[in-house]
Symmetry: C2
Subunit: 340 residues, 2 copies
C-alpha cells in the first residue's frame, strides 16, 4: 500500500487538512513546529502526493497534450523540445502523441487526452484532413494548432509560419539562377501549409512571366519516400532543371534518386528544400532550404496555450512567424546548354 495523506496525518497527529497545507506550502495558518513535524514524517515515510486525487478536486491536471504527425522528422522533434521546455518551465507536463500522419490515430489520441483530463491540447494535425469526421469530434478543452491546420471548431489559437512567402522566395531564388522549368514536390492539399507553399511557387512563376506547367506539380507525402519515388518514376521524362521540395525529407529522397540516376546536384539539377532540419547542412551537397524555427514554433504554441489556460490578458489568438531562405550548395546557375 502506498502511503497517503491520511497516514501522514495520523503519524503526525494532525488532520489531513494540515498535511495538505504543508505539502502545498499554504502555511500562513500553520505553526513552524507543526510544519517541521509534518515534513519530518513525510520524509520518513517517503510520501508522494497522488496527483490524480488532487486533480479530482482542483479540476486541473497541469498537463497538456502535444500531438504531432511524425517523430522521425527532425522538424517535429525540435518542435517537441521547444514545447517541452516551456511546459516544464511553467509547471506543466506534456503528454506526447505521435500520429504517423493518420487522422484516425489523431482522433483517438484527442479522445484519450480528454479522458485523461489534460488542461489543453497543442495539435499539429496529420496530413489528410476530413471535415466530415472532424466536425463530429467533441473537443472540450482549449486547443491551439501549430504548423498544420484542422477543421475542429474549438481552436483557440494558431501558430504558423508564412509558408507562402517561404515558397515564393525559394522559387524566386531558382528563377534568379536562370531556371524556368521547375518541378514542385509538395504534400497533401488538405493542408493549408501545402496549399500556401504551392501558391507561393505559382505566384513566383507568374510574377516572372513563366507559364505554369501543371505536370510539374506533384502532390504527395512529406517524407523521403515520396521524393525518391517521384524522381525514380520521372527519370528522363522531365526536362526540369530545378526542384522545389515541400520539405527537406522530400528533398533528401529526391537527391538519393538523382544520385542513383547519375545526375549531379546542383550541376545537372538544382534542389531547394523546406524546414532546414539539421541534416540539411550535413548532406553533400549541403541543401539550400527555407529555414523554419521549429524549436520556437513548439515553444510559442505551448506558451500561447498555457497563457490561454491561465487567462492571461492580452493573449493573442494567432502568431505568424517569418521563414528565411538559406542558400547552400544544392542550387546553382542553370547550365548554358539548358538555357532557352
Amino acid at each position: 500500500m502506498r502511503v497517503t495523506i491520511k497516514d501522514i496525518a495520523k503519524s503526525a497527529n494532525v488532520s489531513t487538512a494540515t498535511v495538505s497545507k504543508v505539502v502545498n506550502n499554504k502555511v500562513d495558518d500553520i505553526s513552524k513546529a507543526t510544519i517541521e513535524k509534518v515534513n519530518k514524517v513525510i520524509k520518513e515515510q517517503n510520501y508522494t502526493p497522488n496527483s490524480l486525487a488532487r486533480s479530482m478536486v482542483t479540476k486541473k491536471t497541469k498537463t497538456v497534450g502535444l500531438i504531432i504527425p511524425d517523430v522521425r522528422n527532425p522538424f517535429f522533434t525540435d518542435l517537441v523540445r521547444g514545447a517541452e521546455d516551456i511546459a516544464v518551465d511553467r509547471g506543466y507536463n506534456l503528454f506526447f502523441c505521435n500520429t504517423d500522419d493518420d487522422l484516425s490515430k489523431e482522433i483517438r489520441y484527442i479522445n484519450t487526452l480528454i479522458e485523461k483530463q489534460v488542461d489543453g491540447i497543442a495539435l499539429a494535425g496529420s496530413a489528410n484532413r476530413n471535415p466530415d469526421i472532424e466536425k463530429d469530434v467533441n473537443i472540450s478543452v482549449p486547443l491551439v494548432t501549430l504548423d498544420r491546420n484542422v477543421y475542429f471548431s474549438k481552436v483557440k489559437g494558431i501558430i504558423e509560419i508564412n509558408n507562402f512567402k517561404g515558397a515564393y522566395e525559394a522559387t524566386t531564388h531558382l528563377i534568379n539562377l536562370g531556371h524556368k522549368d521547375i518541378l514542385i514536390l509538395v504534400g497533401s492539399q488538405d493542408l493549408k501549409i501545402s496549399r500556401d507553399r504551392l501558391r507561393g511557387y505559382k505566384e513566383a512563376l507568374k510574377d516572372n512571366n513563366i507559364i505554369i506547367n501543371e505536370s510539374n506539380i506533384k502532390i504527395g507525402t512529406y517524407d523521403k519516400e515520396f521524393g525518391k519515388k517521384t524522381m525514380d518514376e520521372l527519370k528522363c521524362n522531365s526536362s526540369a532543371t530545378a526542384i522545389f521540395c515541400g520539405n527537406d525529407l522530400i528533398a533528401i529522397g529526391a537527391m538519393k534518386s538523382l544520385k542513383k540516376q547519375g545526375l549531379n546536384v546542383p550541376e545537372d539539377i538544382s534542389i531547394v528544400g523546406f524546414d532546414d532540419i539539421y541534416i540539411a547542412s550535413l548532406l553533400t551537397p549541403a541543401l539550400t532550404t527555407v529555414h523554419q524555427p521549429s524549436y520556437e514554433i513548439g515553444y510559442k504554441a505551448v506558451e500561447l496555450l498555457i497563457n490561454k489556460l491561465e487567462n492571461k490578458n492580452n493573449v493573442s489568438k494567432s502568431i505568424v512567424i517569418e521563414p528565411q531562405l538559406i542558400v547552400r550548395e544544392s542550387t546553382c546557375k542553370i547550365k548554358d546548354k539548358f538555357k532557352i
Copy 2:
C-alpha cells in the same frame, strides 16, 4: 460543467452503477433495452468518462512513462515509435519524457511520473550517472531499463544490445582493412554501453596483437558536437588512419570536421559509426556502422514492462539483442603510404 456519469444516470433514469457497467461493457447484468437507452443518452450528451476518477478506484492508470535522453537522436525517436506502438496495442498510453542527458531532469521526471501514478516506467538513463543520488530516489513502480543502465534498485527488467560484440566487430573490420592506428570516440564511462564498446575495441586490438595507445581513446558525449570538436582539436596531431565512433552522431560530427580539414573519407581516413540511424545511409560517403534495431528495442522494453505489470508468467527479466555490422562507403583498405 463537464457532463458526468451522474448526469447520464439521471437522464436515463438509472443508477450510476448501471451507467458505469454499460460504459465498461460489463453488461451480463443489464437488459438490452437499458443498454440502448443509456448509450443513447451518452451519445446525446457527449459524455466521456473521467479517467482520473476511474484510476482512483481501480488503482491503475493504464499509462507508462518512457524516459529517453535525446529526442534529436534518430536512434531514440525510432525507439519511441516502437514503444508507442506496443503501448497503444496493449491499451496503454505513453507519457513521454526527454531529459537532454541531464540526470536531475531525469529524476524530476521520475518523480512526476510517480505522482501521476503511472503503472510503470521504461527508462533509458541520461549519460552521467551518480549512484549516490540515484540510491535516494524512491521508485515505487516497476521499472525496466533500455539501452542504458542505471543504479536504481527497483529495476525489474533490462533490454540491451550486445555492445561488446558490436564494437569488437567494428574494430575488427577496420583491422582487417589494414588499420592499426585506430581512434575511438566514445561516450561517458558511467554508462555500461560505453564501457562495453570501449572493451570491444580494446579486445579486438589485443586479439590482433596491436598495442593499445591510450591517447587514441577519447571520452565525450554522444552527439555530433563531440565528434566535430575532437577532430578539430586533433588535426595533424594524430597519425590515426581510422576512427571508431561510439555512435553515428559522433561519426557525423567527425566527418564534418575532416571535410573542413580537407581530408577525404575513406581514402585518407576510415570511419565506423554505431546505431545505424537512417541518415547514416544518406551521407556522402554512406556510413559504415553497427546496426541496432532501435524500433525493436523500444517495442520489447515496453512489452516486457507491460507483461510485468500484468503478471504474465514466464516473463523474462532481461533481453539481449545482437547488433550487426553494416559495411558501406566510409571504410576502405589502408593506403600504401600508411602501411607500416
